[in-house]
């Protein structure tokens, strides 16, 4: 038994290592087959997810039809508007993506903290401070356009991280529960931002109340599709999905973070500093939140507006959990919420559904999605019973459909949240 030791090398049983590499070489049909097999499995899962998801949304829409009529809307038009308003035209699709971007990035922020066992309800405040930082920097620093974009984006991330710093320190080193500190930080952020762009505030625009001066056009995120508002924030969001996924699942830092969230004592036993990991997770989460705010300012509004956020940071919690905390799942969940948001405009204009009723419909959809794992469980049980009572089970059509749908709910984040909420001990 031999061991190689160096400062940049993990100590490991070399014999075992060799043996494990051999498994690789002797491997079944080589990595190609394995990749194909895994892709096929993932494809099957994805198909099941999409199918069950569509069914869920349909169910929710059907349930909300009476409400739509009650509020004076036109149900038939509403169904049409729901689809047409979000994906019916290139412009609508672009608008859906515009609505998706902030939810996606802030959803990643929530999820990153969750993976470390932290419930960051402060994403909203961090997002506001990030937007504010980007807005102020963009409106005041006399830098050439491309450089200014980078500086503004960085300022947004830094602002968000700064806003997460106090809860992070209190959590990591004093064990103060992050839920209460981040809620407090939210209120402070709202009051501070209001003050900074109030008439007596230092950064208010001379022509536009409750906002900063405009950021020069060259320093805004470029529009991706001319004639729409779809901006480069989408690309940033996609990059962030990949980056967060990479970080969580393909870096040692991400591993420490997930392990700390899953079992802080095990992490500590493996030589991971729990307080440092908490600090890092919270700061990264804040930075992502700040980016979400900065992207709205730099891509959509061109300046910071007070109260620009309808609560992206709160919706992000649902987005993150709906996406089962996985970056790709979050992208899907954000797209789903973005679809609801962008169809809201159409629903109002074309089908006479008030914005309040649109809120009710999205609530019902979220409720159905939340209940989906249970409904699927029920179907599975019925199917199992049926299969057992039949002497010779032959899958009929319904069974085949259920076979694809049933084992794969859109998201079953229960496990994630339960360990996410487990108290992370920060004792040294």
């Amino acid at each position: 038994m031999s061991a190689r030791v160096s400062s940049r090398r993990t100590r490991i049983d070399e014999e075992l290592l060799r043996e494990s590499l051999e498994i690789n070489r002797r491997g079944h049909n080589g990595w190609r087959a394995e990749v194909l097999a895994r892709a096929a499995a993932a494809g099957g899962t994805a198909a099941g997810r999409i199918l069950s998801f569509v069914l869920t949304v349909l169910a929710a829409v059907i349930v909300s039809l009476p409400l739509v009529y009650l509020s004076g809307g036109d149900g038939a038009l509403a169904l049409d508007a729901l689809i047409a308003g979000s994906w019916g035209s290139p412009i609508a699709a672009a608008e859906t993506l515009v609505q998706t971007v902030p939810l996606l990035i802030s959803g990643l922020a929530v999820a990153l903290a969750f993976h470390a066992g932290l419930f960051n309800i402060g994403v909203e405040g961090q997002l506001v401070v990030g937007a504010l930082s980007a807005g102020i920097v963009g409106a005041t620093l006399p830098l050439p356009g491309p450089i200014l974009i980078v500086v503004c984006v960085a300022a947004g991330a830094a602002g968000g991280a700064l806003w997460a710093l106090i809860p992070a320190l209190l959590k990591a080193y004093r064990g103060v529960h992050e839920v209460v500190t981040t809620i407090m930080m939210n209120y402070i952020a709202f009051n501070l931002s209001t003050f900074l762009v109030s008439p007596s505030g230092p950064f208010v625009s001379s022509s536009q109340p409750s906002a900063t001066e405009k950021i020069p056009i060259e320093a805004r995120l470029p529009i991706l599709v001319p004639g729409t508002r779809l901006h480069a924030g989408l690309i940033l969001a996609i990059v962030l999905v990949i980056a967060v996924a990479w970080y969580l699942y393909r870096t040692p830092g991400g591993f420490s973070l997930r392990l700390t969230g899953a079992n802080p004592r095990a992490a500590r036993g493996a030589g991971i500093s729990v307080p440092q990991t908490i600090l890092r997770a919270m700061l990264l989460s804040g930075a992502l939140a700040g980016l979400a705010g900065a992207v709205q300012v730099l891509g959509l509004f061109g300046r910071y507006f007070d109260a620009f956020s309808p609560g992206y940071g709160f919706d992000a919690i649902a987005v993150a959990l709906l996406g089962a905390l996985s970056p790709v799942g979050i992208a899907a969940a954000a797209l789903f919420f973005g679809t609801l948001d962008s169809s809201a405009v159409y629903l109002q204009a074309q089908a006479g559904v008030s914005r309040e009723m649109v809120g009710v419909v999205s609530g019902l959809v979220v409720g159905f999605v939340a209940a989906q794992p249970a409904i699927l469980r029920l179907l599975r049980r019925l199917r199992a019973r049926k299969a057992r009572t039949r002497p010779n089970p032959s899958p009929d059509d319904l069974d085949r459909v259920l076979a694809t749908v049933v084992p794969v709910p859109l998201a079953d984040p229960d496990d994630a949240i339960s360990h996410g909420l487990a108290e992370t001990e920060a004792t040294r």
Partner: protein, 517 residues
Amino acid sequence: MSATAVRLAGITKRFGAVTANDGIDLAVRAGTVHGVLGENGAGKSTLMKILFGMIRPDEGTIEIDGKRVELRSSADALAQGIGMVQQHFSLVGPFTVVENLILGRDSRALWRRWLAPLPLSAARERARELSERFGFGLDADARCQDLSVGARQKVEIVKALWAGATILVLDEPTAALSPPEAEELYALLERLRADGTTVILISHKLPEILRLCDRVTVLRDGKVVGTREIDRADMDAISRAGVEADLVHLMIGRERPTVPERHPRELAPVLSVRGLTDGGRIGPVDLEVAGGEIVAVVGVEGNGQSALVDLLTGVVRAKAGSIVLDGAELAGRSTLARLRAGLAHIPEDRHAQAVAEEMSLIDNASIGFTTGAPFAPTRLWLSKAKRRRLAEAIIRDRSVRTPGPDAPMRSLSGGNQQKLVVGRELARAPRLMIAAQPTRGLDIASTTAVHEALMKLRAAGAGVLLLSLDLTEVFAISDRIVVIRQGVLVGEVATDRADPERLGAWMSGAAGGEEAA
């Protein structure tokens, strides 16, 4: 002879693809102790949970005292006079002992339960009574989470007997007890039997089964593979060995695997601890472990074994003292540095310290391997493929039963989780392995496998520090035994010169302590 207290007929329970119980028939005579044996995952706990109403069987019937019953919940089982001590603690940590005892037992009218104060003082009195009768010495107002594992086990037993259970189910009750504590339990069970209580006992420890049980049923893969009467009155060493071999054969389908012989070796020190203390509960501790030596630290739970391990692994910083491993001073160094220097650790509390249940086997196998090459050559890259290979190698080497390396850790049975942890720690190529209760809850085959692994380490010249409550284990594999009491090592003895009886007395601080050396 006597009436049948419990009759299970045709019990079948499936969990997805797993059939945990497969048409099980079991009859338990009233006033006897009935043993249930089987490997990890054989379906013992599932069967007992069905009897306790916690799991609804897919098929099968239950009769209590000859009457067919429907057990929809543990409330129903309690009402039938069944009490159960779970394999995993079922106490509410932040509640006091007495609160745990009366939990769910209040039978007053509903409005009283909403309005009237809890009948705590009466319960306290009764708890004191029971505790005294069994010689437990429980503090009724202590919080359960502050109690040692042994004390918690006692609370569980008192809780099961609280409502005057006539049928008592015990699922591996001695896995967490020290030998003197286990003795107390045995005496208690004898007394209960004498009082006419029916006891069902699940255990992996054959000696205690042979000593206590009137009859044993062996499960394998969810099926009953045999039932044996045990004539306790007439059992000498030879017939005992015969029965044991018979039961082992029933359980695992082959002979008991043997642990390799220990061979004396040239010894060079690997670990040398001097004056180690946390400034309070523990130390100063002086301890040497040589390469090729297994040193067992024994003591009653709560005497500082955990604290000693924490100091050695660096999870808790020492106030004073030195820890030298292979000539390198580790006392001031981080846990990570200690792992790199050749320390490995099988923690005593698997759930709390060793595994992340929600993470995959791949992730769990790579805990502690994610800083530095080969898995993480840079801070931006942690190889999944290589970690998968590592997990696969460990799964194969340690025969972990799992659907695959991507499965979440929680989907494994406790024994298989433990095997993965052992494999992971062995993969560190340790110079010193700290093995704390490494076979707690493991079946005979797995236990032997762990022992083999530790012996192999020893043969390779590494040191092993074994912390164990199981004296059979200590005698089977250790070279030297040190006794810890109230945070200090009170003495040591070579294993082949140690005497279990005296060791027990020594651990509990009774007579005959210090003079051994």
